[in-house]
Symmetry: C2
Subunit: 132 residues, 2 copies
Amino acid sequence: MPADPQIDKLNFDESGLIPIIVQDHANGEVLMMAFMNREAIERTIATGKVHTYSRSRGRLALKGETSGHFQLVKRIFTDCDRDVVLFQVEQIVAACHEGYRSCFFRQYEPGADDWKVAATKAFDPAHVYEKK
Amino acid sequence: MPADPQIDKLNFDESGLIPIIVQDHANGEVLMMAFMNREAIERTIATGKVHTYSRSRGRLALKGETSGHFQLVKRIFTDCDRDVVLFQVEQIVAACHEGYRSCFFRQYEPGADDWKVAATKAFDPAHVYEKK
């Protein structure tokens, strides 16, 4: 793959990673935060599907590989410091492995003992992840 | 300040920090990404104004302290792993110190040599930051 000067202008951290935000292109919902390395960004741009770098597994991961819940890239932005990348995507079914459309389904409630689930599930994780 | 069990349930990293995303509560625009420590979250909740932890300056910072461009908190969410916090805010004037409403004003354009500025300025940084 030829070098992409726009990727060269991003500021990766000392581990070669950059935080990324994924947002629904249609309604603005923030779906998840993750990390990419250079290869994940190149693969995401080349395929049009979000690929992240999993720090726990130490490898590239196609988002939705198991579930089929891909994130189809519509627009890409970076911030003033070029050290965060924002992907606006078409989300197939849902982003969260717990079954919610967005990973940000827990809301702060003043005085409560725990965060409250503020969304309903878009799919049943047991069904989606066990049958494959 | 009494301990807040919801803050206790967040997963701070080994440096005691947690990445945060700030989003316009009205139109869903992603305004910036930053970091908070426990004290920044407590101060943000207590005052209703976003406070971040500046890694470069090694201290707490009230967002908008110099410019008056505060972020007034409307709703707070955390994600499935409880290791990112999303703040939905009313943004006074603009979030970016470069004068744009959102820090994510640079858009990727296939084949281009550099990211393209995809927004117009909401204020003149020279005017806002020099006169104080």
